[in-house]
Amino acid sequence: MNPGPTIRFRRDGGISRRSLLQTATAIGASAFAPGFSAYAQQQAFKIGWVRPTTGRLASSFAPLYLGGLIAIEEINAAGGILGRQIERVEEDDEASPAKEPGIVRKLREQDVSVIVGPTGSSQSLASLAATTQAKILQSTYAAAAEAGDGKKYPYHYQLMFNTDQQADVCATYMAKTLGLKKIGILQENTAFGEQAAVSTKAILQKKFGLEVASHQVYPITATDLSAYVANLQKAGVDGVIAWIANVPNAAMIFNTMKTLNWFPPVTGHSGLMLPALFDLVSADAVKNVLATYYRPFTWTDTEQPGLRQVAFAKRLAQFPEAKGYEVNVAASPYYDFIYLLKSAIEAEKSFDVEVLQHALSSVKDFKGLLGNISLTAHNHCGIDITDVVLVSIASGQDARAMGCMRARAPNQ
């Protein structure tokens, strides 16, 4: 220890040392803790981002979040929400419902009060059980009608057409537009298939007084689906409502129809529209196949898709990982959810979950990408049935498709 320099320092360099320390602190903070300096201005707004980055479904589910990602990029570039940047907190759920409760725990620990994801009806319902209890605002990719029940899941916003609406559109087209009497149902044995088939039967019964001519339920892991198609044909079915959500199953079914040289009109889920189908099935096998979709993303001989939607399609084309999944990305509720949330926060000037939940319960005619969204305390689905239309599968190979646009069926 040498007391000399210390004394001199105190005498000669006292002030300069203090200022030096202040500078050092400032530099240190900005260099080593950018989050800290951001905190000083405004803390980032954290959104949980639950999607599979590993596992069997990672490659087909992970890109579906691009819509949400684009929304966040746009918002952050424009200065965030009330000055706060949005920050995603990624968690991998491996697309397994079993993982969801643990993931909600993980996110709660990080003070996340809004979650986007998971994707899939059963994953979503498993997650909702935990988020509802924890009062977390959430948007999942789940078509099951139950997920849009605001009484049951008051903090969840479906913002996409559900199985009831899809069934209604498909049944009406078959029975009314085409005037068919012998309608068959072909369904996968999942929660989605089950809910969709039940509403289809109910609607055919109630609205048109029709009984289903043949109802076939197949396991998604089956290696040969020809028996089911043959059964429909034998039952003399002249139109098929198909609740199929994956490409391999769809391919097996349409290929079987081709080998049987039987091409009845088929209507079904938007999952049929993935271009991967055309790797497995020739275009002529799907000439009579229609799927449910959103009006603003469709064209007819006289109408063009919406301008916002076209801009979205162009933006989407810049993401290579979206290739092949454009339709499912466009049909995801995440883009609209982020913007809906932003508008509610800005209207209420609050990030408080209860305040936002209350505000969101009375949204009227919010201009979403998928259509006009209106919510009530009961109805958290939000999509108006007039925005749900049938489109031609084959139009996916049309030059006008731009990935996520499709040709609307006549009379829609």
Binding site: A58, P97, P101, E109, L125, A126, N189
Partner: protein, 596 residues
């Protein structure tokens, strides 16, 4: 299993420290923290893995469908609590009962099928079960599963995450202790016998069927309990939780940790389920890493991580091993036994078209020593096997101590007081010599399953008594200095003596020895000679199959010669060895050889 103090102390401290850390863990984490959630889940996996280890590791029944038992438990608890508002405790009991029922059903195929057939059947079961959970929508609520399982309550007090953790932790400790107690008891020895040497299990009167059934019941009950805890811990029970992969994970867990080691399932579960939580960047490589790990372990460390640790520790401890405590040298006093007579008449046994035994008469009076000789393939061992109930005779009668035994199962015959040794010794190579001898007392030990599992004083006292007695028998046959060595490492000749000690331990009143002298050195042969004389003096009947005619001539009072399944001659050794037919058919070259 038991080793010197120095080698047990350090592992004991490690184990205690581990349990202590696990016990105070909740004090250091938040109630809603992810760490606590994962730790609770780990505890649930450990409970199921401990049960599977008993089944696959000790009893040798590799079940690739263990997830089904957990699933039944989880679904039963979830459905009863959510739909019928049952309390957790009642639902949990039902879960365990249902899983146990399924376990008993799964045990049935294992009675008739070999290990790997059985493994395949269970794998198939796992895949079918996975489908059925989805298919039975009316029961399981299909793909979406049962959601919103409430927390357990006691007198209106709801268990928070920390209390739930402690409940799971306590259950895991109980499961561990129960399995430890069973494994170190006669049941544990019988499990290993069923796995490694089914013939030895039969010889000591342990029915492989009952042992397999018992192992299944325990493993399934533990899986049911784990499933029940799984439901309240996860709060969501879906078909995706219980895929065939989940079953395979459990097998991997146990193999990774160490099949047939007590700490294996605990270590395995830690490594298997916890490491991915830390290494999230390796997530997509996880299954690949598991596959490679499994392969490498199976090739280089068949007893898994626990086995490798134990081996490393032993190697280290070897250098500072203190000699085993000298035991008091009290003269061995063996109680006399009443020998059982063996009477065989008109015995027939055919294999395909070949008559292995053709109208054989054989009588060994109580307390006598009778020998069966004859060329290879003359039916000597078959005669022993039919007498012991290993084969069913086609015709004829076998009476042991006046009881007709033809048609009785081997383990029931053994229970009459029959001891048996085999041509190739059937020892449990991984167990200590003394444990092998104690296995012999399987039928004599009285402590029931419950008192064994809970290690009640009665059971402990009995174990101490049996241990002392086993050591006596080892001294009697002269292998006491190897008592604590693994039986597989003992020289071949002494393994035969251990088998005899095992038979004596069972209180055998009729001992059937299959070529005990084969491969013995001259000194060992002398000892065998003396030993047989001593056994006979105790009063037991001896039936010996032997090629070594000097030995036969020295100890047997009665000799039967078999040739191609028929009796060629019988009588006193002196008479028989003079018989011309015998000399022609059998003695010709052999008499010269052994006479030299």
């Amino acid at each position: 299993m038991a080793a010197s103090r120095a080698t047990t102390l350090a592992p004991l401290i490690t184990q205690t420290a581990f349990v202590a850390v696990a016990c105070v863990f909740p004090l250091f984490v938040g109630s809603n923290s992810y760490a606590l959630y994962v730790a609770t889940q780990l505890g649930v996996y450990i409970i199921a893995a401990i049960g599977l280890n008993l089944l696959a590791g000790y009893a040798g029944q590799v079940s690739l469908g263990h997830a089904a038992f957990v699933a039944i438990g989880a679904y039963a608890t979830a459905l009863l609590m959510v739909d019928h508002a049952w309390s957790f405790w009642a639902a949990s009991l039902v879960s365990m009962a249902l899983a146990t029922g399924l376990g008993m059903l799964s045990a049935l195929p294992s009675f008739r099928l070999s290990t790997w057939y059985f493994a395949f059947i269970t794998l198939a079961f796992a895949l079918v079960f996975e489908k059925m959970i989805v298919e039975w929508r009316w029961l399981t609520k299909g793909f979406a599963g049962v959601i919103g399982v409430p927390a357990p309550r006691i007198f209106g007090y709801e268990f928070g995450p920390k209390i739930l953790y402690l409940l799971v932790f306590a259950s895991a400790v109980v499961a561990f202790l129960i399995v430890r107690n069973i494994v170190q008891s006669r049941f544990g020895r019988a499990f290993v016998a069923v796995r490694d040497a089914p013939a030895a299990a039969l010889a000591v009167g342990a029915s492989p069927q009952s042992m397999k059934m018992l192992a299944f019941v325990i493993a399934a009950a533990m899986a049911g309990a784990a499933g029940s805890l799984f439901a309240v811990q996860k709060t969501v029970v879906t078909p995706d939780d219980f895929t065939a992969d989940f079953s395979i994970f459990f097998v991997l867990t146990v193999v990774l940790g160490g099949l047939g080691t007590l700490w294996g399932p605990v270590i395995g579960a830690f490594v298997f389920f916890l490491i991915p939580e830390f290494l999230s960047s390796l997530q997509s490589w996880r299954m690949l890493i598991y596959g490679c790990l499994l392969l490498v372990l199976m090739l280089f460390a068949p007893h898994g991580l626990a086995g490798a640790l134990r081996q490393a520790w032993r190697r280290y401890a070897q250098t500072q091993k203190t000699p085993a405590a000298a035991r008091t040298d009290t003269p061995v006093e063996h109680v006399a036994v009443a020998g059982l007579a063996l009477e065989i008449t008109g015995l027939q046994k055919r294999f395909g078209g070949v008559a292995a035994l053709d109208d054989v008469e054989f009588i060994a009076p109580a307390g006598s020593c009778s020998a069966i000789v004859g060329p290879n393939g003359s039916g000597k061992t078959t005669l022993l096997n039919v007498s012991g109930g290993y084969y069913l005779a086609d015709a004829g009668s076998v009476r042991i101590g006046g009881v007709e035994t033809n048609g009785m199962s081997a383990q029931r015959i053994a229970a009459l007081g029959i001891g048996r040794t085999f041509q190739t010794p059937r020892l449990l190579n991984e167990l200590a010599v003394i444990e092998n001898v104690m296995l012999g007392a399987y039928r004599r030990e009285r402590a029931g399953f419950a008192s064994t599992a809970l290690r009640l004083p009665g059971a402990r006292a009995e174990t101490r008594r049996m241990r002392a007695e086993a050591l006596d028998h080892l001294e009697f046959v002269g292998v006491a200095d190897h008592a604590e060595d693994p039986a597989g490492e003992v020289p071949h000749g002494q393994q035969r003596l251990i088998e005899i000690a095992r038979a004596l331990m069972g209180g055998a009143r009729l001992i059937m020895l299959d070529e005990p002298a084969a491969g013995l050195s001259m000194t060992e042969l002398d000892r065998l000679d003396q030993l047989l004389v001593r056994i006979r003096k105790l009063g037991a009947t001896i039936v010996i199959v032997e090629h070594h005619l000097d030995l036969v001539a020295s100890i047997a009072s009665f000799v039967t010669v078999l040739d191609r399944g028929k009796i060629l001659a019988s009588g006193s050794p002196a008479d028989v060895f003079k018989d011309e037919r015998v000399l022609q058919a059998y003695m010709g070259d052999r008499a010269l050889r052994s006479g030299a």
